[in-house]
């Protein structure tokens, strides 16, 4: 029996030996450093393994026989090895060579591409895939937290709202601080103020761009990169490249379909008082002020009302308890569908995309839908001539609602009191709108408002390669944008009989933006080691935006539904027109493919420049050294990549009002039915671009075969001739505005980005982290006082020695525990009970000390999980509306924070004794800005969490023609960690003009909070 058992065991062991061998081995690089996480697969099977931290792998359960192994690893060339498995298994050592392609990947740099290794400027790149990982109101919001040096403040929760993007801080006061956006070579129309500020929102010119069409985004950050855009490059340049036709892995076109569905809700809701609380606090204020009987109530009684009248009003008012926040918000829904085809067919390659999305925000009535199509073609008409076209057409419809200061949720947070009913009277008590006080529901229900944007961005390019190494490209582009802001005020809104009809108006902006450029590039090999590249070019761009205002009365529908038969008003309003004519060149020199130098020059003539400064000439130089290519580092086992680069040069910002240099007249309007002509502003023949002298030094370092890869940059930007817009030359001059170059600004910073592959193998984990620290100060504003810049609303001012967007406020000290009244600090720091504008001090700043993001990505088998945190450190938020919600008791509703108020001597309370009289707070006005509502802006936010599942190959094989299937659930703005007591610490409110946009982000005035979204996405590839 024992023998039989022994025989069985031996034969079992033998059989194991014959049928279950393993292939073991070790994978290393040329420097004999183990490669961790390399994939080793037996060709033709699904068997494989990953190397461990010693570079060792083992593929188990392999039958005896001959196999071919495929060994691959990121950053290395793939290797193939034949192996014979015998009864004792097999062992092999594999050495992978460094993949030079990574260094030879191309980066778009403006008027051309460069290999990564030869880029000597600071350029960041992000793929379209990484921009489409979450639902955002507009594509630029998806850049948030992902690129070092790129700070993105997402627009508010309004559908389609635009983000504020700042590349390496801000160094403009009155000129636009936004980067230049270039889509497939066209500097696109990007004016946020084409439609002014209406309803608490600026138009977002980027919202019509379909993020699904984007192949990659490159960000040019320093002079060494951005100087090629001359007087328009200083704020950085965002180059957007759309997808082109590609040959797929299968025969026939590659088809992709993505659908997603989701919800929108606010990240926070205001804690407004209900009727009982409002009446109680108002009564307390009245009695604190010495009043007797019932307090008078806005909309019901007045301070002069008799005691009986006040009592009657109080009883009537207390019967209502309207939750205006609830009535103006909802759970919004989102859906989007995107279909794309891509293929190469003989000499033609194409990419075609069709997309529809409809995003409701959480505000009742607010949504943004976009239907867009794209066709990008490349046609090789001759062996050395290629014609390419990019065509896109989109129609965005933004169904607008009033917000912030103009009503809607903003009214619910301010003037709409809980004691006001929505309607009253009639049999059901709902026949008539309440109009004795703010009633946002009237507008919500009776106003139709749609901003329709038709956008076509098209270009055609010819690439000609007449002789070896000479490349000529000619491209013409046309960017058309039509904005039709249609509003209809119904009879009930106007409070007139339904039979009369309502008022309709259209504010139409029609922008034609044409450009062409012609470049010639010649690459010349000087000798075995030295290469020279020269690119020269010429560009012209002209943009005109015509604005027409049309209005009619006594109609029943908005313009977008029915164009009226007759117009009451039909007039051309101020628009904008500008042009740039430019010559530029880029000279590149490389030695041994590891030393690189570059010279950029550009001259810009612009219609925006005054007659004494017609042309801007802005050069820059840069150099880089790929140290890891040197012999002494080639064999280093730790450092796999090291590059130093530096640049210095001039770059400009000419994002200025094109009309500002002229003495201009207008002729609109009539007086006494007779025509009028009037001057609007004084000319400025010296108006010119802002000049930035920028230098940058950076290092790029890869360790352990680039498992750790980081970049570190120091940059320094000195701006002279900084524009101050709306300069208040004395208002008594009678001129509305004046723009001049008077300022000096310094903006310095450090940016750091690192990517680590923490775990490799079956379970993979990688981390991307970036942080940017900025030092910013205004060095000079000429002879003007800080108050001469009227654009920075809510008391941000340009103060010498302080950063742009300095909060300039009276300092609040404390609430006097005996009197319950606020105590301020005067200019000398002494306590005072008087609020005086002369006591204002520089006390805060809207710019953060640092900002950045961290993405952790995990994958296991078909699952992947991506978690993005973004963060802001330091800086301030000024909660401008809090002075009314938590200040003097007025006709505004207030917040439950007031429960922590002073009520009796000895109380140490956060808020003062309630009063109806602003004089008790030492002021003549309730509109006093103090540091009481200035808060630390630090926050960290779980911006995006995506859990995806990709169907495995074996499952896919069962589905005919299906190449890939991916399912994902996505949540955005899930968690926020902040001390900020207001709604949402990420604030990009509506702005009045460029100065306001530069100086007053992080100032909130009834600004709707960000949205939190939950989505489900399915992506199918064919």
């Amino acid at each position: 029996m024992k023998r039989r058992l022994l025989l069985m065991l031996v034969s079992f062991c033998l059989s194991v030996q014959v049928f279950a061998q393993s292939i073991k081995g070790r994978v290393e690089d040329e420097k004999k450093v183990p490669i961790v996480g390399a994939t080793v697969i037996i060709e033709g099977t699904k068997k494989g393994a990953f190397t461990d931290d010693k570079g060792v792998f083992e593929i188990k359960d392999v039958k005896v026989g001959k196999y071919k192994l495929k060994i691959s690893s990121l950053g290395s060339n793939t290797a193939y090895r034949d192996v014979e498995v015998t009864g004792t298994g097999a062992f092999l050592n594999v050495q992978l060579k460094e993949d030079q392609k990574k260094l030879d990947e191309v980066v778009v740099v403006g008027y051309g591409v460069q290999r990564k290794r030869e880029v000597s400027g600071a350029v960041s790149q992000i793929s379209g895939k990484n921009l489409n990982d979450m639902p955002v109101p507009s594509f630029e919001s998806a850049l948030q937290g992902k690129l070092a040096g790129v700070n993105v403040t997402t627009g508010s929760g309004l559908a389609g709202s635009g983000a504020v993007v700042r590349i390496r801080g801000i160094a403009s006061i009155g000129a636009g601080g936004d980067p230049l956006y270039v889509v497939d070579g066209i500097p696109i129309t990007q004016d946020y103020f084409l439609n002014g500020n209406s309803g608490g929102m600026n138009n977002n010119p980027l919202s019509s761009i379909n993020p699904n069409d984007i192949e990659s985004v490159e960000v040019l950050k320093d002079a060494g990169a951005s100087a090629i855009y001359g007087s328009r490059g200083a704020n950085g340049v965002i180059l957007i490249t759309t997808k082109r036709g590609k040959k797929g892995s299968k025969k026939g076109p590659t088809i992709n379909f993505t659908a997603s569905f989701g919800t929108s809700q606010p990240t926070a809701l205001p804690n407004m008082l209900n009727t009982q609380q409002y009446l109680q606090l108002r009564q307390e204020a009245w009695e604190n002020d010495g009043g007797t009987g019932r307090v008078w109530l806005p909309g019901y009684s007045s301070a002069q009302s008799s005691a009986a009248a006040r009592e009657a009003a109080y009883i009537a008012a207390s019967k209502n308890n309207t939750d205006w926040v609830k009535l103006t918000t909802r759970l919004g829904t989102k859906q989007s569908y995107d279909l794309s085809l891509s293929d190469v067919y003989k000499k033609i390659s194409y990419y075609a995309g069709l997309s529809y999305s409809n995003n409701e925000s959480y505000l009742v009535g607010n949504s943004f839908s976009r239907l867009s199509g794209r066709l990008n073609l490349d046609f090789k008409i001759h062996k050395n001539i290629k014609v390419s076209t990019n065509s896109s057409l989109s129609q965005g419809n933004n169904y607008r609602v009033n917000s912030a200061w103009s009503g809607g949720l903003g009214a619910a947070m301010s003037e709409a009191l809980p004691i006001y009913p929505v309607r009253f009277g009639g049999a059901n008590g709902d026949s008539t709108y309440f109009r004795n006080g703010a009633n946002p529901l009237i507008v919500q229900e009776q106003k139709l408002w749609r901003v329709g944007e038709t956008r076509a961005i098209n270009n055609v390019a010819i690439d000609y390669n007449p002789i070896k190494n000479l490349y000529i490209r000619a491209q013409g582009g046309y960017d058309y944008m039509q904005l039709l802001d249609d509003q209809y005020d119904g009879p009930k809104l106007l409070n007139i009989a339904d039979s009369v009809g309502g008022n309709a108006q259209r504010n139409g902006t029609y922008t034609n933006n044409l450009n062409y450029f012609l470049t010639g590039t010649y690459n010349y090999k000087l000798n075995e080691n030295s290469k020279l590249g020269l690119m020269v070019g010429n560009e012209f761009q002209k943009s005109t935006a015509t604005v027409r205002f049309q209005r009619t009365e006594k109609v029943t529908a908005p313009f977008y539904e029915q164009f009226p038969d007759s117009l009451y008003q039909n007039q051309v309003a101020p628009g904008s027109a500008w042009a740039f004519l430019s010559y530029f060149g880029r000279l590149n020199y490389s030695y041994k493919d590891k030393y690189f130098a570059q010279l950029i020059m550009r001259a810009d003539w612009s219609s925006r420049f005054g007659e004494n400064y017609r042309v801007a000439f802005l050069p820059a130089i840069s150099a880089s050294w790929v140290v890891s290519e040197e012999d002494f580092l080639r064999k280093n086992k730790t450092i796999s990549y090291l590059k130093f680069r530096a640049s210095a040069g001039r770059s400009g910002n000419s994002n200025i009002n094109g009309n500002a240099r002229f003495l201009t007249f207008r002729t609109d309007g009539l007086y006494n039915q007779m025509p009028i002509t009037y001057p609007t502003q004084a000319p400025n023949p010296n108006l010119r671009w802002e000049t930035s002298f920028i230098w940058d030094a950076g290092v790029e370092l890869g360790l352990f075969n680039d498992r750790i890869f980081g970049t570190l940059d120091y940059f320094d930007r000195r701006v002279s001739d900084a524009i101050i817009e709306n300069l208040a030359i004395s208002p008594s001059s009678g001129m509305d505005q004046y723009t001049a170059n008077v300022g000096k600004i310094t903006n310095r910073g450090l940016e750091f980005g690192i990517k680590t592959r923490n775990m490799v193998g079956k379970f993979r984990w990688s981390t991307d982290f970036n942080i940017t620290k900025i030092w910013n100060s205004i060095d000079d504003i000429g002879a003007y006082s800080q108050d001469a810049v009227s654009g920075g609303t809510n008391d941000t001012r340009p103060i010498i020695g302080q950063p742009i967007g300095t909060n300039y406020l009276v300092r609040f000290s404390h609430i006097d525990s005996q009197t319950g009244l606020p105590v301020y600090l005067d200019v000398n720091g002494n306590p005072t009970s008087k609020w005086d504008i002369n006591d204002r001090q520089a006390v805060g700043k809207v710019l953060p000390d640092a900002s950045g993001g961290m993405t952790n990505t995990f994958s296991y088998k078909g699952f992947d999980l991506s978690i993005l945190f973004n963060f802001v450190l330091g800086g301030n938020i000024y909660e401008s509306s809090a002075k009314r919600q938590l200040g003097v008791v007025t006709n505004w509703n207030m917040r439950t924070d007031l429960f922590d108020r002073w009520q009796k001597p000895g109380d140490n309370a956060a808020y003062a004794r309630l009063t109806l009289n602003e004089a008790n707070y030492g002021s003549n006005t309730v509109w006093i800005n103090t540091t009481q509502f200035l808060h630390d802006a630090t926050f960290a936010r779980l911006r995006n969490i995506t859990l995806g599942y990709n169907l495995q190959q074996k499952t896919l094989k069962k589905l005919k023609h299906v190449r890939s299937v991916r399912l994902a659930v996505i949540a955005t703005n899930v968690l926020t960690f902040t001390q900020y007591p207001g709604l949402d610490p990420e604030i990009a409110r509506d702005f009045e003009n460029a100065t306001d946009r530069n100086m007053s982000p992080n100032i909130t005035y009834l600004t709707p909070p960000q949205e939190r979204t939950y989505s489900f996405q399915i992506n199918v590839g064919f």
Partner: protein, 473 residues
């Protein structure tokens, strides 16, 4: 080969150079440049027309309401925001509403001064037309400076409570186009400058403006005289005012309106000497009046008459002007008072009224204690129109000057309820050194700094003296 390269590179530049820098000479969109906008005398006329337009948009009730907010004839109801600052006499340098008004009025002056530079440039208009245009410009400039002086400087007078030497700060005077800051002139310089403009305007303007038909839309000789009289009157220069008024009122064509409502124009009101005109609902130059005070299409008006003002008016029930007050919710706890003066879809805004001229002369004569018969006769014109049994109210001319003065001021208050007159009258009398009964309006003495607005902060440059903050409630 090398030649090919050179040719290609050169051609790139040639294509570039062919697009010359002139391509960037682009005209602003929606604007005209000087050489397009001002090509002829007709264009200059259009600019002059625009000065009226701009002024009409300021004096559409807004500037008048500011004055009322400082006074005591508005109920403390629905007065919020910037208006609240006015009501509590604490207008600071950042009050957007007052600053808009300041800017808007100086905008008229800027336009007027721009015209002055062009008038002599063109020969397609006659010398008479040029004179008229220049006269109008000076009239507009004077009117604008006057409106600013009323809100931004203490009144001129002999009272030591302001400055008996009349050297206190006036306003920045703008007599030419300039972006340079200007500091405040003294109050004497201010009023002298305004008067000089008007004296010149009287010389330059025709008796009948060629564009005026029934309505006094554009300034003529009488309008300039009327304004000069008002300027002298407001600055306590009564003798000068009387001289101008004697001249003006000797014009037999001037006739008081039968209507007690100054806003009841129905396209023609015989007593208007100068008015801002509306031509339809879409062109209502009295929009701030109708929008805030109208009582015929709302349950309660936006702005209401104070109980104090209503009680004052009610003291004499024979006063037919009581009919211009609408009592809302009469007898109920929530009884409030509105005005029926502005119950029209659109109105002309009278700026210079014959009623005012008679009342000014009557008061000026009473103050200077001369020709009381004329004073009484002037006053009686107003009394006869206003009372049910006027014969019992009229003056004989034999009353003491103080009696006439008291009475004329009483009538002034009744005539101009809600028209922005009361606070200016109070300030004028105070600056003349008179002790008034009561000597305060809503607790404010006439010289309280709270009764003048702070200049916009951007106006305050080196050497510019800002009005100090002082509340007086």
């Amino acid at each position: 080969m090398k030649n090919n390269i050179k040719i290609i590179i050169a051609s790139i530049f040639l294509v570039g150079l062919s697009s010359c820098a002139k391509w960037t000479e682009i005209k602003p969109e929606g604007f005209l440049l000087e050489d397009e906008a001002v090509k002829s005398g007709e264009d200059v006329k259009r600019i002059v027309n625009s000065t009226y337009d701009a002024l009409a948009n300021r004096l559409n009730g807004n500037a008048q309401i500011f004055n009322e907010l400082l006074g005591d004839e508005l109920a403390d109801y629905n007065i919020n925001g910037d208006r609240r600052e006015m009501y509590t006499r604490g207008v600071i340098a950042f009050n957007g509403t007052s600053n808009d008004n300041f800017r808007g009025i100086y905008r008229c002056i800027f336009r007027a001064n721009t015209c002055l530079e062009y008038i002599q440039k063109f020969n397609d208009i006659t010398p008479t037309e040029k004179s008229t245009l220049e006269g109008e410009i000076k009239f507009i400039r004077a009117l604008s400076h006057f409106e600013i002086a009323k809100l931004y400087a203490h009144p001129m007078g002999t009272s030591s409570l302001v400055d008996a030497n009349k050297e206190q700060s006036g306003i920045p005077l703008r007599t030419k186009v300039s972006i340079e800051p200007v500091i405040r002139s003294t109050i004497t310089q201010t009023y002298n400058n305004i008067a000089e403009d008007l004296i010149s305007a009287i010389e330059l303007l025709p008796a009948v403006h060629p564009l005026n038909t029934a309505r006094k839309v554009y300034a003529d000789k009488n309008a300039a005289k009327a304004l000069l009289a008002k300027v002298y009157f407001q600055s306590n220069q009564y003798q000068k005012s009387i001289l101008v008024l004697d001249d003006l009122l000797s014009d037999a064509s001037l006739k008081l309106s039968d209507s007690l409502n100054h806003f009841d124009s129905k396209s023609f009101n015989s007593e208007y000497l100068f008015q801002f005109v509306s031509t339809g609902t879409g062109d209502n130059r009295g929009a701030a009046f109708t929008g805030n005070y109208r009582t015929d299409n709302v349950a309660v008006p936006n702005l209401q008459i104070s109980a104090l003002a209503y009680n004052f008016m009610k003291q004499d029930t024979a006063d037919k002007r009581l009919n211009l007050i609408k009592v809302i919710n009469k007898g109920k706890p929530d009884e409030v008072y509105g005005s029926a003066k502005f119950n029209f879809d659109f109105i002309d805004v009278p700026y210079l009224l014959l009623t005012d001229m008679y009342l000014m002369r009557a008061e000026a004569l009473a103050i200077t204690n001369q020709n009381l018969t004329t004073a009484a006769a002037d006053l009686n014109k107003i009394i006869n129109r206003a009372y049910v049994d006027a014969s019992t109210k009229v003056m004989t001319g034999s009353e003491l000057a103080d009696v006439i003065k008291f009475r004329v001021r009483n009538e002034r208050r009744r005539e101009f309820l809600l028209e922005g007159d009361r606070i200016q009258t109070f300030k004028r009398i105070g600056a003349n050194g008179e002790i008034q009964t009561p000597n305060t309006i809503r607790n404010a003495t006439f010289n309280c700094n709270g009764l003048i607005f702070a200049y916009p902060q951007t106006e305050v440059t080196i050497g510019f003296s800002q009005n100090p903050l002082q509340t007086c409630n």
